[in-house]
Symmetry: C2
Subunit: 500 residues, 2 copies
C-alpha cells in the first residue's frame, strides 16, 4: 500500500521530467530537420532552458523527499524497477554540484565550436586547451560519481551501466588479435570483391521509397513514427508512440540512405517496443548505448547484409529502380555490402575494422582520464596506433584525432558502446538462430516481423528497467564475450572473400 | 540602478517562461504538421505539462517576489513596458485559483470532443450541457478578473486589452446598418461578378510555388520562417526568428491556398517584426487579437485584393500556371476576389458580410456571460439573427450555432477581434495611403517591402509593449472607428459591382 502510493508519486514526477525531456528532444529534432537557419541561437537557449528545468526537477526538493521515502521502504524498492531507476538517476544527478554542471555545459558548448574550427584548420594544437579543460572537468565528475577500480569506469557507466575497464580490456585485446587474423586471411583476395552494385545513379525519391519499404518490412510502425532528411542520420523519440528517424541520401551510392535507414530503424524498433507501462518514465529508454547499438547493428550489419536479405529485397529493388540498375545477383549484393577495407575514418569503416577505431579511442580516453598520457601527444599516439592496427597513417589531424565530435561534447566513455553493440548483436544473432532455426529462410521470404517480435519480447519491452549485463545473460545464458562476433565475422569474411 | 537590476531579473524570468511556452508551441506545430497520428494522446500530456509549468512559474514564489519588488519602485515601472507587462500577466494569472484553472482546462478538453460529435450529429442539445458548464466557468473567471461596467468586458480584455462593450456596441450597430446598405446597393448587380478566374485546375506544387513567391515579395523572411501544410491554416512562432505558417490547398480553387498564405504571412510579418530587445519576453507577441488580425487582413483583404496587386502578380502567375490558365485581366481577378455573397458559414464569408457573423456571435456571447438568455434558445436566436441580418437560414445546427470551435475551447471574447481587425486595417490603410501617396503604384510594381517597413516601424516592433488603442491612436490620431472600413468597403463594392 505504502509502496504503491510512493510509486504513484514517483511516476508522476517521472512524467513531468520525461515530458520536459521529450520537449527538448522535439526541439532538437526540429532543429535538425525543419527549423529555419536564423533560429539557431534562440533554439539553443530554449533547449538549454528545458534541460536546466529537467535537471532542477530531478534534483529538487520534491525528488529528495521521494528518494527519502523510497529509502524508508528498506529494500522493498528493489523489486520495482521504476523506484530503483528513480533512486539511481536522482543520486547520480545529485552527485554533481550545480556549479560543475554549469561549467561543464559551458565548456562543452565552447569546445564544440573550437573543435569545428580546429578540424577545419587540421590543427590539434588549437583544440588541445579546451580538450584539457574538458578532461579535467570529466576527471572531477568521475571522482564525484565514484568508482571501485578505475576512474574511467565512472564515465563508462554513464553510457554502459555496470561495465568496467577490467571487463573490457581482455575482450578488446582478443578482438584486436582476431581482426588482424581476418585481415591477414583475406589479404590475398582483397581485390576480388567489388562494391560496384551499390554505386550508380539512384534518384532520391526512389532511394527513399525503397528504404521506407524495407523499414516497414522490419516492422517500423509509421503510425508511431516517421522518416525525414537531415545532415547526419539519427533516431530520436518523444515517447514509444512517436519515434523519428532521419537519413541522408547520396544519389551516386545506395549505401548511405538504405543502410542508414535500416540502422536507424533498428534503433527505432527498440524505442517503439518499450512496454506501455513505461511510457513517460525513466524506463522508456535503451538499457545502454551498447544495447541500443546492438539493435541497430543486428539489423544493419547482420540481418540485412545476408545473401538471404538480398534474395528477398531484389524483386522490390528491381521494381523501383528498374532491371537495368538492379542487374546483379543477391550474392553480388551480399558481397558488395560486406567488403572489408582498412580506412582512416571511423564512420566509413566496415564492420570488422570498425572495432579497431573504437579500441584506439577507448585506450586514449582511458589514459586521458587516468592522466597517464600527455594530451599534447594525442596526435602522435593516434597516428602510431592507426599505423600499427590498420596500416593507415592520417595525413593530418582532421583525418586523425580530430575526426569525431564526441570528445568536444564531453562524451568520454561513449565510444566503447559502438563495439559492445557489435558484440551483443553477434551474441543475440546466435541465440536467435538457435531459437528460430528457419530465421534465414524467413529473411529470404521477407518475413521479418517474427524477428522484431523476438527482439521485442526479449529486449525491447524492458527498456531501461534491466541492465545490459542482465539482459544479455538472460537471453544468451552467458556474460559479454567477443567470441560470437569473432566467429561470425571470420565466417562471413571467409565466405565473402572466398578464402578457404 | 535598482530598477535595472529588477528589470534584469524580470527578463530572466520571462526568458524561462517564454522558452517553455515556445516549446509548447513547437509541440503544437509539430502535432498539426508532421506528428504521426499514434502520438496524439502522449502529445496532449506533454503539452499540458509544459503549460502547467509555465503557469506555475508565472504565479510562483519567484514571480511574487519580483512583483513585490516592482511595486516597491513606486511607479518607476510605468515607463518600462516589460515591468508593466510582467505585473499585468502575473496579477491576471494569479487572480484565478489553481482549482478553477484545472477545472476549466479539463472542461475545455472535454468540450472540444463533445462539440465535434455534436457537430457531426448536427445536434446542439448534445453540446448544451458542456457549453453550460463552460459558460459558468467563464462567468466565475470574469468575476475573479473583475470589470467596471459589463461582466463580458473581463473576457473581452483577455483578447483585446482595454476594449469594452460600451465601446463596441455603437461601432457594431453602425457596421450592421452599413452592411445592409451595401447589400441593398449591390443587389441588382449581384450576378454581374463571377469568381470564375479563381476556379479551375491548379496543381498543388504550382499553387505553393506561387503563394511562396507572393509571401516572399511581402517580405516574409524564409531564413526565419517556413510554410507547411496542415488541415487548418495557422501562424505560430517560437520567437521572432522562427515563424511558421501553414496552409491548405484546394486543387480546384486558387483562393484557399493563395489568400490563406497571404493572410498567414500578414500574421507572420508581425511576429517577425518584434524588436530584437523583446526576444523571449512577454512583449514578443501581438498587441491583441484585433491588432494581429489587422496585420493579416490588411494584406489579405485590402492590399492583395486591389487591381494593382493583380497587375503586379499576373506575369508571375502566367509564368507558373501558363497563359491558358491565367487568361483573365487584372481587373477580372480583382473583381473575382472581391465578390460579396451572404452565406451561412463564417470562415467562407466575404469581407463585408463577415462582420455580420461576428456581430451575431458577439451578441450571443455577451448575453450568455451576462446570463440574459437561456442557453437552450441559442439555435433559435442564431437562426433568427442569420435570417434577419443575411437572409440566410441554417438547415441544421452544424451550419448554424455549432460551426465554430471557439466556444468549445472557452474562447469567449475572441470573436470581436476578427471584426476589430478589419476596422483597424481600414484605418491603417487610410494613414498608409496618406503617408505613402504612391502606395498603389508601388503595389502595381510589386514593390511591397516599403509597406512591410511602414508596418514594422509603426506597429510590429512594439509587439505587446503598447495596447491596441495606444497604437491605433498613435498612428491614426483617432480612436477606434468603423467609419474608415465602411467608407472603404462601400467604395470597393460600388466599384466591383459597378453601382453608380
Amino acid at each position: 500500500m505504502e509502496t504503491s502510493k510512493i510509486l504513484e508519486e514517483v511516476v508522476q514526477t517521472m512524467h513531468t521530467i520525461s515530458d520536459i525531456n521529450a520537449a527538448a528532444s522535439i526541439l532538437n529534432w526540429d532543429q535538425e530537420t525543419y527549423m529555419p537557419s536564423g533560429a539557431s541561437e534562440t533554439r539553443a537557449e530554449q533547449i538549454s532552458t528545458l534541460e536546466t528545468l529537467a535537471h532542477q526537477f530531478l534534483t529538487g526538493e520534491r525528488s529528495r523527499h521521494l528518494a527519502d521515502k523510497i529509502s524508508g521502504l528498506n529494500g522493498t524498492a528493489d523489486s520495482e524497477p521504476l523506484l530503483k531507476l528513480f533512486i539511481h538517476d536522482f543520486e547520480r544527478a545529485s552527485k554533481l554540484p550545480e556549479d560543475l554542471v554549469r561549467r561543464t555545459s559551458r565548456a562543452q558548448a565552447l569546445a564544440q565550436d573550437t573543435w569545428k574550427h580546429a578540424r577545419t584548420e587540421k590543427n590539434y594544437a588549437k583544440f588541445q586547451p579546451v580538450l584539457t579543460e574538458l578532461v579535467n572537468l570529466k576527471i572531477e565528475a568521475a571522482e564525484r560519481y565514484g568508482y571501485v577500480e578505475n576512474r574511467y569506469d565512472a564515465l563508462l557507466n554513464l553510457f554502459e551501466p555496470g561495465m568496467t575497464v577490467t571487463q573490457l580490456n581482455p575482450v578488446f585485446d582478443n578482438l584486436r588479435t582476431a581482426t588482424a587474423e581476418i585481415l591477414t586471411a583475406i589479404a590475398p583476395n582483397l581485390d576480388k570483391v567489388s562494391d560496384a552494385p551499390m554505386q550508380g545513379s539512384f534518384s532520391k525519391e526512389k532511394q527513399m521509397e525503397f528504404s521506407k519499404y524495407i523499414s516497414g518490412k522490419m516492422g517500423f510502425d509509421f503510425n508511431n513514427g516517421r522518416i525525414d532528411l537531415s545532415t547526419h542520420p539519427f533516431c530520436t523519440s518523444f515517447s514509444q508512440y512517436d519515434v523519428r528517424l532521419t537519413t541522408r541520401i547520396n544519389e551516386n551510392d545506395l549505401h548511405s540512405c538504405l543502410y542508414g535507414v535500416i540502422h536507424e530503424t533498428g534503433h527505432g524498433l527498440y524505442e517503439q517496443g518499450f512496454a506501455a507501462k513505461y511510457a513517460r518514465t525513466f524506463a522508456a529508454d535503451g538499457a545502454s548505448i551498447g544495447m541500443h547499438e546492438s539493435q541497430s547493428l543486428l539489423w544493419e550489419t547482420v540481418i540485412t547484409r545476408t545473401e538471404e536479405f538480398w534474395t528477398f529485397a531484389l524483386p522490390k529493388f528491381k521494381e523501383i529502380f528498374g532491371e537495368s540498375v538492379a542487374k546483379y545477383t543477391p550474392r553480388d549484393y551480399y558481397r558488395a555490402v560486406n567488403t572489408i577495407k582498412p580506412s582512416l575514418i571511423r564512420t566509413e569503416a566496415d564492420e570488422v575494422t570498425y572495432n579497431m577505431h573504437i579500441i584506439l579511442r577507448y585506450e586514449l580516453e582511458r589514459e586521458m582520464i587516468n592522466q597517464t598520457i600527455d594530451l599534447k601527444d594525442i596526435p602522435e599516439i593516434w597516428n602510431e596506433k592507426m599505423r600499427r592496427n590498420l596500416g593507415q597513417v592520417p595525413k593530418n589531424d582532421a583525418e586523425g584525432c580530430l575526426q569525431d565530435i564526441h570528445w568536444s561534447f564531453g562524451g568520454f566513455g561513449y565510444f566503447p558502446g559502438y563495439t559492445l553493440g557489435k558484440l551483443y548483436a553477434a551474441m543475440e544473432w546466435n541465440v536467435l538462430q538457435t531459437q528460430m532455426p528457419d530465421v534465414r529462410s524467413k529473411i529470404a521470404n521477407g518475413d521479418l516481423m517474427p524477428i522484431r517480435e523476438w527482439l521485442r519480447e526479449n529486449i525491447h519491452q524492458y527498456g531501461r528497467s534491466q541492465k545490459p549485463a542482465e539482459i544479455i545473460k538472460r537471453i544468451t545464458g552467458k556474460p559479454l564475450t567477443e567470441k560470437d562476433f569473432v566467429e561470425y565475422a571470420k565466417a562471413k569474411a571467409m565466405d565473402v572473400y572466398q578464402v578457404r
